[in-house]
């Protein structure tokens, strides 16, 4: 095996593979699955430490299709954030990769999503956003734009919920939007999201080829290929490579992560979006909202100083799951002391 075929752990890409997908041929979700595999492989994530969490939907099925050597939990519709948070508390060293859908997150799971952001559970949270409920056969979801048409002619009557905007306002430390068809951007974002300690949202537009792929649909492949407006070219440079990489010439921005890794952003036109500037992030989201002709993708907001839940809870190095009697039971004297108050 050549070095290029193996990662820092000596694992090959196939070691990050999962079961065969049962989704429709051409589904955007399968692209994201490949991107997750690519990212985990390149970042040298230990598969045994991976926890894959999801709710219910076509998108939520995908954790079975990547990193079979990780631990999966496909929970109930819209409630993955609580399950992921609980697992994360039990063992803070787990690398939690959450996959959800736009129905799973923006409708039934909106409450749990908001609260996981608020608590800053250390996890990657990918919304595979196709604007419809794929698994229940194509009803509009809450992330569909008002006035859009889907197969069969139905028109969506309600304004969309922009999950990135919600996340930014709730104080999320890592907010990105991407397109499943842009593997390069997705892989870099996923790698950076894994590195980020705290809740990392990637709202990834991921076309449903069966129910929402009309040529004029803003959640369809054709439209996206033409109207995807990248904020910047995203690259991720891990800590162990950071020393050896030369700065890319031209207009670039280097965003340092606390562990020594960094995100490199290079400009695609005269301006460059700085994700560490929350006002700039808000302006991007506002532009995205008003400009019906485009979708803006890239790293929208990043705050390296966000405090993850396990730190807020002061969890020690040894996972709660491994603590035993001697570490958990107060001694006899302490026990007697507790009872004393009740005599």
């Amino acid at each position: 095996m050549s070095e290029a075929d193996s990662n820092a752990l000596g694992l090959a890409k196939k070691d990050y593979a999962g079961a065969k997908s049962t989704l429709c041929l051409g589904c955007g979700h399968d692209q994201i699955t490949r991107e997750i595999i690519e990212a985990a492989f390149h970042s040298g994530v230990d598969p045994f430490n991976v926890v894959k969490t999801s709710g219910i939907g076509c998108s939520s099925k995908t954790p079975a299709y990547f990193i079979a050597q990780g631990y999966g939990i496909n929970s109930v519709h819209g409630r993955m954030p609580s399950v992921a948070t609980g697992a994360n508390c039990a063992n803070r060293h787990l690398v939690t990769l959450g996959v959800s859908g736009d129905g799973d997150t923006a409708s039934i799971g909106m409450g749990q999503f908001c609260h996981a952001v608020r608590r800053n559970t250390d996890m990657v949270y990918i919304v595979e956003n196709n604007g419809v409920y794929g698994l229940t056969k194509g009803q509009f979801s809450a992330t569909s734009e008002k006035g859009v048409r889907k197969k069969g002619g139905d028109v969506n009557e309600f304004a969309e919920i922009d999950l990135c905007a919600v996340a930014v306002e709730l104080g999320c430390g890592f907010v990105a939007r991407s397109f499943s068809g842009d593997a390069k951007q997705m892989v870099a974002l996923i790698r950076a999201a894994i590195q980020h300690e705290g809740f990392a949202l990637i709202d990834c537009i991921s076309p449903c080829v069966t129910f929402n792929n009309l040529s004029d649909s803003p959640r369809g492949f054709d439209w996206l290929r033409e109207h995807n407006l990248k904020l910047h070219e995203v690259g991720f440079v891990p800590e162990y490579e950071a020393q050896s990489v030369d700065q890319i010439p031209g207009k670039t921005l280097r965003v340092d992560m606390p562990d020594g890794s960094y995100i490199s952003l290079s400009a695609l036109d005269e301006s460059i979006h700085d994700p560490t500037d929350i006002q700039a992030a808000r302006r991007v989201l506002e532009r995205d909202r008003l400009d019906k002709g485009h979708v803006y993708t890239g790293l929208i907001y990043y705050n390296p100083k966000s405090e993850p839940l396990h730190e807020v809870l002061h969890l020690g190095d040894k996972p709660l799951s491994l603590l035993d009697e001697s570490e958990l039971r107060p001694g006899r004297q302490a026990f007697d002391g507790i009872l004393q108050a009740y005599t």
Partner: protein, 599 residues
């Protein structure tokens, strides 16, 4: 003058919610307890922060009976709104201590009426009317101390403990108690008060503790490391107390050996708990009926995906919001079968505070041994009131973490299928996320799965798993607390009960026996039912199932379990929201004994 009644009466304090009488009432009850006399206080409070009537019962019982009596021997009336009713409630020959200002309409001459100028007595101590109101409660502590013959030094010590650490407040309250006591001594003749507390030695080594505090302590000792919860009466104090204990006893060098997450709702509570349990923490939540309803979908997920979880349900009156501060045993059937599809959970039914302590440790062992949500059903009466309990034992046994395979064991066994019945007991093996072994990883799902945890819609594969889960849960009787037998096994009149109903039933059986009605009893402590319950029912001519709900939920569960028992099981029910009294049980059983109803 009526004959003196020693250590066998109830003191009822009638006040307004939010008036700060809780401390005074606790002080009175605890004083009796410290005098070595069994005592059971009960706070009958409304769902309101301030302004509605509330009653506090203090039952003094040398015999150790702990149920509500339904009678009021000594009443302390401070609420203008209810004073007429309160005065009328005093038993003939009883004593009424009443605020002079509201005593105008009282005309009873068959009781002793003691009018006390509360406001005037506390005036010198507090210019501030709010503080004056609070302190007024200490006046009746003093009056009661004098009339009932409470030990003065003990009262003062209990006051000091109640406000420990706040010296000025201790002194002030002690002074006011003294004023009440002296006023009573100067004005009334305590010798004429027929109700007396006399010191005994019956509470040594006993605890005086709320059920919810016992549950929290049980969870702490049982190794709970994760709590996800959402506040709801009457369960909140379980989690609050647990967090308090954990902060005290589980912080080492700045590291917390527990995690508590206040969730956004009860769906999230159970989701958090299942996530934590799946990843290997001993995790719990506590809630009440409305929360149980919200947890339904996740309960089925935990059952089918086989994930340990402990759910404590401190029951209150339903349906819907019901009467949130009143007590019932109304969630037995909903917890037993919580969720859609064929589900049947392990349900623990502690009867008494020491059992709450024991079972809230054991619940974690059972949850991990059987890899399933375990429901522990307490209720408002046990949970939020102080009770006398046997001193809790320090746990000697190690935790039972169930069938968990680590990397070393996997290397030895060389095979692992998450949902396979290897040992013939229906309980599969599991691995924890993060285990470094190629055999360990598996995919957990609430959709149809095979023995190897793969997705399936194959009929046989599906059935194999659900049939095994049923065997597994049925087999839990090996480890769940067995029912308790009481009385002569040859007797053919049975009384079956569980949970807090125990207190009324034990007293009722004594009363029935005194009336010539002999009974034997069985106290159920877990579901699924043990075989002994079947034998018990079959050995009886009639079985009275006593419980605090409208429909006789346990009676129906027993009927289904015991073939041919429909004709001999009779429902003795009380569901009005007050703690059950022995007389209620006696009346219903006696009536049926005289004139048997047909079922």
């Amino acid at each position: 003058m009526s004959p003196t009644v020693v250590n066998d009466f109830t003191v009822t304090v009638a006040t307004v919610n939010g008036s700060g009488s809780a401390s005074s009432n606790t002080i009175l009850a605890k004083t009796v307890f410290r005098m070595g006399v069994p005592v059971t206080p009960k706070n009958l409070f409304p769902s309101n922060i301030a302004g509605l009537p509330t009653w506090f019962l203090i039952r003094v019982s040398e015999k150790g009976y702990q149920a509500r009596t339904g009678t009021h021997e000594v009443v302390i009336a401070l609420n203008a709104e209810t004073v007429a009713k309160d005065a009328a409630s005093v038993r003939k020959g009883g004593v009424l201590i009443v605020d002079e200002k509201i005593a105008g309409g009282i005309t009873r001459d068959d009781i002793a009426v003691h009018k006390v100028p509360f406001a005037e007595l506390v005036k010198p101590f507090a210019p501030d009317p709010r503080l004056r109101k609070l302190l007024a409660n200490m006046i009746y502590v003093g009056v009661a101390t004098d009339l009932l013959g409470l030990d003065r030094e003990t009262v003062m010590k209990v006051v000091a403990d109640q406000f420990a650490g706040r010296e000025k407040i201790v002194k002030l309250n002690q002074e006011v108690v003294k004023v009440g006591l002296e006023y009573s001594r100067d004005t009334f003749d305590a010798a004429k008060c027929p109700f007396k507390v006399e010191s005994r030695d019956l509470t040594r080594d006993k605890l005086f503790i709320e059920g919810n505090a016992a549950a929290a302590l049980g969870a702490l000792m049982g190794g709970c490391t994760f709590v996800g919860w959402y506040p709801i009466t009457p369960s909140s104090s379980v989690c609050e107390e647990l967090i308090h204990l954990a902060k005290e006893h589980r912080v080492v060098g700045g590291d917390h050996r527990f995690a508590a997450v206040q969730a956004e709702d009860e769906l999230a509570s159970l989701g958090l708990v299942l996530g934590a349990g799946w990843a290997g923490a001993r995790a719990m939540t506590a809630t009440a009926g409305p929360g149980i309803s919200l947890m339904a979908e996740f309960a089925g997920f935990g059952y089918y995906a086989e994930i340990p979880a402990v759910v404590m349900d401190i029951q209150r009156v339903g349906p819907s919001t019901g009467m949130p501060t009143r007590t019932q045993q109304c969630d037995v059937s909903s917890c037993l079968n919580l969720s859609h599809g064929d589900t049947g959970h392990i349900v623990l039914l502690p009867g008494g505070i020491d059992e709450i302590y024991e079972q809230s440790q054991q619940a974690f062992d059972l949850a991990e041994r059987y890899q399933t949500p375990v429901f522990l059903l307490s209720d408002l009466d046990m949970g939020m009131n102080y009770w006398m309990a046997e001193r809790f034992a320090y746990p000697e046994r190690p935790f039972d973490r169930g069938k968990v395979l680590d990397a070393e064991q996997l290397a030895q066994v060389k095979a692992f299928a998450r949902y396979k019945d290897v040992d013939g007991d229906g309980i599969p093996y599991r691995t924890l996320p993060g285990t470094h072994h190629a055999l360990a990883p598996y995919f957990t799902r609430g959709s149809g799965h095979t023995e190897t945890a793969a997705y399936t819609e194959d009929s046989d594969e599906y059935q194999k798993v659900v049939d095994r889960i049923k065997r597994k849960i049925d087999g839990s009787v090996r480890d769940t607390p067995a029912p308790i037998h009481e009385g002569d096994p040859d007797c053919d009149v049975g009384v079956l009960h569980y949970g807090s109903t125990r207190f009324a039933v034990e007293e009722a059986r004594d009363m029935l026996a005194a009336d010539g009605i002999a009974t034997k009893a069985m106290r159920v402590r877990a579901l699924p039912l043990h075989a002994e319950v079947v034998e018990f029912v079959q050995s009886c001519r009639v079985v009275y199932v006593v419980e605090q709900n409208r429909d006789g939920q346990m009676a129906d569960i027993v009927r289904l379990k015991v073939p041919g028992s429909a004709g001999l099981i009779k429902k003795v029910l009380y569901y009005a929201g007050m703690p059950l009294s022995a007389t209620t049980v006696v009346e219903q059983i006696t009536a049926d004994q005289r004139e048997p109803s047909h079922v």
